[in-house]
């Protein structure tokens, strides 16, 4: 089998998800030997034109230019895989979707006219068809390797969509809700991180977005029993996957603070 041609593309993001690939220190050279890294500017000056067998796309669409670029990337790629909360859900920068972006520009830049931006930060799937997604802010190294080995092998990656609680118990973490009364989004959050936050005695803040078939309404009800301040609950839902419709719906149940 010819080595699949890999492209890694960045839109609005922090670089962290693609850095995950370079953080696979033990496997990097083997991966580099197995795939043809045709376009990965963070790692290589060699930038070859498409088509690509696999495109890893990091970041959300926030500019008119990127809205066009993602069409181009899709057209050139056999498989398009989104990596990370920005690409799968708009990222933390999707908080702009709740505000007036012109005000934001004016608040941040002295000369707003120099800035070209869209009113929203949107997930890649809002623009083009996505073949697989790796959730998380950032993605998990083990999941990235699983995805890459699956692609090399020609099989479906094993990327479970159950909730963090299952992984929390697999890991032997102590439940922070029960032991400490700490608010935790684990029950409704998509697995993949290995239940990291509860393992460090803090509540999950939902950076993998919603899990399949869970009960976010019951989660909100529980949070309302735990946390007196509504705006705190709203901010919890409005985190790194704030634009996800499931989380956004729950956030809309809570007002308070200055965000209503």
């Amino acid at each position: 089998m010819a080595r699949p041609r890999l492209g890694v593309f960045k839109l609005a993001s922090c670089d962290g998800c693609q850095l995950t690939l370079l953080d696979c220190e033990d496997e990097l050279l083997a991966v580099a030997g197995a795939v043809d890294i045709a376009n990965f500017p963070e790692a290589s000056r060699r930038i070859e034109p498409g088509p690509y067998d696999v495109a890893l796309v990091e970041g959300s669409v926030t500019t008119p230019h990127d809205a066009e670029r993602i069409q181009q990337i899709r057209a050139e790629s056999r498989l398009l895989i989104t990596i990370g909360a920005c690409a799968t859900a708009g990222g933390i920068q999707a908080l702009r979707n709740l505000a007036d972006v012109d005000t934001y520009v004016a608040q941040v830049y002295a000369t707003p006219a120099y800035i070209s931006t869209l009113a929203t930060s949107t997930a890649i799937a809002d623009h083009v068809k996505v073949d697989f997604e790796l959730r998380g802010c950032p993605i998990d190294k083990g999941q990235l390797l699983e995805l890459l080995t699956a692609l090399l092998f020609g099989r479906q990656p094993t990327l479970p969509n159950h909730s963090v609680c299952l992984d929390c118990k697999l890991a032997g973490n102590v439940c922070v809700v029960v032991a400490h009364g700490t608010p935790c989004l684990g029950p409704v959050t998509h697995a993949g991180c290995g239940a990291l936050c509860p393992g460090y005695t803090r509540g999950c803040f939902g950076c993998y977005g919603p899990s399949r078939g869970s009960n976010p309404t019951a989660q909100s009800d529980l949070l309302a029993r735990q946390v007196p301040d509504e705006s705190t609950i709203r901010r919890l839902w409005q985190g790194f996957t704030t634009a996800d419709p499931v989380f956004a719906e729950q956030a809309s149940r809570f007002t308070g603070g200055d965000g209503e």
Binding site: F153, G154, R155, Q156
Partner: protein
């Protein structure tokens, strides 16, 4: 006791010896089981393992008289069945089994047999045809009522016709949607059942297909007077281990990999209409 000797989780490698394309998405493959013959009852299934992709339950669709030839008919629908359907002769699969319960081919002796199957549901009853053919004299009339979405989705069509000719089965086929190759009946398989004039008091009915199809088949059979304890069906649930340890295939108190997939209607009837059980 050594753990390895008891390891029911571990497959046995078997090479593919032949592959027949049945329909656009379905193939029949035969595995060479001479080294470890799979003696099975019609209706039983194995766990088939595609290297690196995983294991899925697939009914044995071959002739029970030939345990050294393990035959399966597989429809490509996803993660594991896609690579299973793509195997070529010479490649090796992993096999565990056989597992589960079988059709009542012995209990059905000295009476009529009515087999009603839809779509891929024909695969688990195909061994029944072999078993009945092998002892044709023990049975009265044999009805084979088969439904498919379109003529192109009909499984084993020529073979069924050959069987029917050679062994005197009353074969009736129907499709949901006809095309220009089709001049047979159009409609659901229950219509065939309505039209078949078997003696309900002497018949054993075996049905396999989507749950919704089986619901109507059973309803019609009961209406015609087939006793509940002579109606048999094959249930499908997610299965991961096939040895009653993973919990996935539970349906009420049944582990369908052990006390199913084939069961009598009077065993199933109290739950069959409970949604999402």
């Amino acid at each position: 006791m050594t753990a390895a000797a008891l390891d029911l989780w571990r497959p046995v490698p078997m090479p593919v010896v032949s592959k027949v394309q049945e329909t656009a998405d379905t193939v029949t493959i035969e595995l060479d089981a001479r080294d470890s013959p799979v003696r099975f009852a019609p209706g039983q299934f194995t766990m088939l393992y595609a290297f690196g992709h995983g294991e899925v339950p697939i009914s044995i669709s071959g002739d029970p008289a030939h345990p050294e030839r393990l035959v399966h008919t597989i429809r490509a629908v996803g993660r594991v069945t896609n690579p299973l359907v793509a195997v070529e002769p010479g490649q090796v699969l992993g096999v565990r089994g056989p597992f589960g319960t079988g059709w009542p081919v012995h209990d059905a002796e000295d009476g009529e047999v009515v087999v009603v199957a839809g779509g891929i549901g024909l695969a688990p009853v195909r061994p029944v045809f072999h078993a009945l053919a092998a002892h044709r004299e023990r049975y009265e009339r044999v009805w084979v009522l088969v439904g498919a979405r379109t003529p192109a989705d009909l499984l084993y069509r020529e073979e069924l016709e050959r069987f029917a000719g050679a062994h005197g089965f009353d074969l009736r086929l129907t499709v949901d949607h006809a095309d220009d190759t089709w001049d047979g009946p159009v409609g659901v398989v229950t219509r065939l059942l309505e039209a078949a004039d078997f003696d309900p008091s002497r018949a054993t009915l075996m049905t396999c297909g989507p749950e919704i199809m089986m619901r109507f088949v059973v309803r019609e059979a009961l209406r015609q007077g087939v006793p509940a304890e002579k109606i048999w069906l094959s249930m499908e649930r997610n299965m991961k281990c096939a040895i009653g340890l993973c919990g996935h295939c539970q349906w009420g108190a049944d582990f369908l990999c052990r006390t199913g997939p084939v069961m009598r209607w009077d065993h199933a009837m109290h739950r069959f209409d409970v949604g999402g059980l």
